[in-house]
Amino acid sequence: MKGIIFNLLEDAVVGEFGLAAWDDLLAVVGSDGVYTSLGNYPDSQVQDFVLAAAAKLGKSPAEILKWFGNAAMPLLFERYPQFFVGHTSTRAFILSVNNIIHPEVLKVYPGAIAPTFEFREAEDGGLLMGYRSPRRLCALAQGFTEGAARHFGQSVVFTHLQCMNKGDESCLCHIAFGS
């Protein structure tokens, strides 16, 4: 996993729960906390942080990921404003992930493993999003989507139609956009 995820997590935790909370998490996970966006770190550490946080806050790992995705979006905007420029809606921003955001990430970090989302127009005007990754971070995707909606001042309803965490082969999510 790219170091940026750990940086975002640290910022999100420190911002909401304070420096000590992050130190506590580091102690539970057994990490020295040295993360930089230029580095790569074991995927399992993300899992460890999520589980530790879930245990500490008494929430499910999916809830933790959703919270993190929501909290990370303003931080991403602060750090990479160029990805938000030119978009006026959550929908357009989400659709640019495959074609703009991830290719840009790969320019800077050629080794990064970025997921590919399959987007399809839903009959009700919403968006169907397919996702398949051994990391099974569909809840993070939901958090990012909701965070983006907040950034654009819109509302979304994110529904898991199929989920790898529930034994499905891949995830299929429905995103309904409000005004």
């Binding site: 420096l19 840009e104 800077v108």
Partner: protein
């Protein structure tokens, strides 16, 4: 980010430091990321340049390479539209649009494309014109506000906002212009434009290579002197014409084999440069006839216009291939027009030359297996035309094939004959008209051809001239005659002033080393030069009087005597007679033989003898056969005579008998005087 409230001053100071160090880390990461992004982009662009260089090296098609290039450039850089212009220099330098485009998915290009493809851009005009004029990349950040972008309205309607273009350069010449458009206002930097210039240079190599290939191809199928198609291309076109005739017997063709008469004499006497000029002049005239013919035929009947190919096979041989002929008579008509065009006087340097052409025609009336066969038959017909007195045309018939085979046989036998020592000289006495005493001999070439007996030069001299064999043969005859004369000089002291006459052919006379050769032969034989008489015909001096005079003067300086042979049959320009350093005139046998029956011939002989006397030249009558002729010549004051009345040409042994006994060893006395 914000931190939750802190409880103490220490905590506060710690938090401030935390925030500061976090910012420092973010700044460092940002710098590193920017560097990585630039590195990535450079790598992508270098790969782009590399892939286009590879494509350019491997390409055989300019269009395909340009299409590949604009596609790769657009895909790599994100520019949405690419378009190629080729530069035309036919009338004036301008960028001409091609149908080579790249359009990214979703770009609605139709209107812009349609407008672009109707516009040519002169140097300086519009985006392609700017690149064409400067030979450098050009950039338009906003097409809507640029003053020199005529397609702005259509571009804006198609959503295109920015443009750049760069030249494809072959050396320093702009051969194509590549233009690109995008809708997001991205402005390429100098590094990017520099790379595009490199791509332009790579693509230019394809054009350069293609031009080299075209040049090689052209050289392989064209004659370097005249630029006309050569034998290879003629054979190719001929085989196509034959195939067409096979499919459709109405599609007749004919080939006209054209050979310039006496070209070799001009080439040898006036030099190769003059020869080349003559060939260029002839090629231009022949081409002009074919162009006119083509136009005339089209005007009369658009459906069956004649089509002609003029090729040069080498030397003075040209071939015209006529296609879509109505009948062979058409070919003969063209032959006559070609001959007329060639016959008009032509100026080469200071000389005015009149040259003629012999033409042989072979047509699809004879069914041919191969183009080589058709060419061979036209060649044979051309030889027949030459044999019929030059400036003629002949249509091939099968008897010519036999003659051609005979000629080939003769040519190959002749080539061996000199090596096999099959040549010999016969000697015909020249007598003093007053005393009847032998004054000298004319050496005459004979060929003892196995299976044919003794062959006179008339049967082989033409072939010897055409093959160039006449030079070694002439030299051999000269050496042999001089050696014989030297031998007789010591053997027959009573005949101390015996003169040996040797003929020089026009081609020999035109040889640059003639004087040197003769001096060497004289030195080698030890013969008194005054005892050698060189006979040249009037035609040998044709073309360049000054040069002929110079050669004759040099020969005379060697001490040899000079005769004009066959006087009265050529163009007999009296003006040269008194200027050339001559000693003798030989009156042609035709006047002598008709002297008894034809008063005009008698008058001519009388006039020639009187003229010679006035010019202090001695006269020899050729072909004297009767006592009456001899008597008449003596009365007219002719100095010398030769002919059957005195003796046929005889072998060296018989000539020695004549000198020794006044008659040949094997015969009753032949000399009556």
């Amino acid at each position: 980010m914000t931190l939750r409230e802190s409880n103490s001053a220490d905590d506060y100071s710690f938090c401030v430091r935390y925030v500061r160090e976090r910012k420092a880390r973010l700044a460092a990461e940002s710098i590193a990321e920017q560097g990585l992004r630039q590195l990535y982009q450079s790598k992508q662009l270098l790969e782009l340049v590399g892939s286009i260089a590879i494509a350019a090296n491997e390409s055989s098609s300019i269009e395909e390479t340009l299409r590949f290039a604009i596609t790769r450039i657009c895909v790599t850089t994100g520019w949405q539209v690419g378009h190629v212009y080729l530069v035309s220099s036919d009338l004036r330098l301008q960028a001409v649009p091609t149908s080579i485009w790249y359009g990214a998915e979703g770009v609605k290009l139709a209107e812009f494309r349609a407008q672009s493809e109707t516009m040519n851009f002169a140097a300086g005009h519009g985006l392609p014109g700017r690149v064409l004029a400067a030979g450098l990349p050009a950039l338009i950040p906003d097409v809507a506000t640029d003053g020199n972008f005529p397609r702005a309205a259509a571009a804006v309607r198609c959503g295109l906002t920015s443009a750049f273009a760069f030249p494809v350069l072959a050396g320093t010449e702009v051969v194509a212009v590549l233009e690109f458009f995008v809708n997001d206002g991205a402005v390429p930097d100098d590094y990017f434009l520099g790379l595009m210039a490199q791509i332009g240079a790579q693509l230019g190599r394809v054009v350069e290579r293609s031009r080299t290939q075209e040049r090689l191809f052209h050289e392989a199928f064209h004659d370097p002197l005249t630029g006309l198609p050569n034998r290879a291309m003629l054979l190719d076109r001929l085989s196509r014409a034959m195939a067409r005739h096979q499919r459709n017997p109405e599609a007749r063709f004919a080939i006209l084999f054209i050979d310039l008469d006496r070209f070799k004499v001009v080439n040898d006497s006036l030099g190769h440069h003059a020869g080349d000029e003559l060939l260029l002049g002839a090629a231009a005239r022949l081409s002009a006839v074919l162009r006119e013919t083509d136009i005339i035929a089209r005007c009369h009947d658009c459906k069956s216009g004649e089509r002609g190919t003029l090729a040069r096979l080498g030397g003075d041989e040209f071939v015209v291939l006529l296609e879509d002929l109505r009948d062979t008579v058409e070919a003969a008509r063209v032959a006559i027009r070609l001959q007329r065009a060639i016959a008009a006087p032509i100026h080469i340097g200071t000389s005015q030359l009149s040259i003629t052409a012999s033409i042989g025609i072979a047509s699809s009336d004879t069914s041919y297996e191969s183009p080589g066969d058709a060419l061979r038959d036209a060649d044979a017909a051309m030889y027949r035309a030459k044999a019929c007195g030059k400036a003629q045309y002949q249509v091939f018939d099968s008897s010519m094939h036999r003659q051609a085979m005979h000629r080939l046989d003769l040519e190959s036998s002749l080539r061996c004959a000199l090596e096999q020592k099959e040549f010999l000289l016969h000697y015909q006495p020249i007598v003093n008209c007053s005393t009847g005493a032998i004054q000298g001999f004319e050496a005459l070439l004979r060929w003892s051809r196995p299976g044919f007996g003794i062959v006179a030069p008339g049967a082989f001299l033409d072939v010897a001239e055409e093959t160039g064999l006449v030079f070694p043969l002439g030299l051999w005859a000269l050496e042999e005659a001089c050696a014989t004369a030297r031998h007789w000089h010591t053997q027959f002291p009573g005949h101390s002033r015996l003169v040996m006459s040797v003929n020089l052919s026009p081609n020999q006379f035109a040889q640059p080393q003639l004087v040197t050769d003769i001096r060497r032969v004289l030195d080698h034989s030890g013969l008194d030069p005054a005892l050698l008489n060189l006979e040249i015909t009037e035609s040998a001096t044709f073309g360049d009087f000054e040069r002929a005079n110079e050669i004759l003067t040099q020969l005379r300086a060697l001490g040899v005597e000079l005769s004009i042979d066959d006087f009265g049959t050529g163009f007999s320009s009296l003006s040269y007679l008194h200027r050339f350093p001559l000693q003798h005139l030989k009156v042609d046998r035709s006047f002598i033989s008709r002297m008894g029956t034809d008063s005009e011939s008698l008058a001519i002989v009388r006039t020639i003898i009187r003229l010679a006397r006035d010019l202090h030249l001695q006269v020899t009558a050729e072909g004297v056969e009767t006592a009456l002729q001899a008597e008449r010549l003596q009365e007219l004051g002719c100095d010398y005579a030769q002919g059957f009345l005195y003796s046929k040409p005889v072998t060296r042994e018989d000539a020695e008998s004549l000198l020794r006994f006044g008659r040949k060893s094997s015969q009753v006395p032949a000399l009556t005087h």
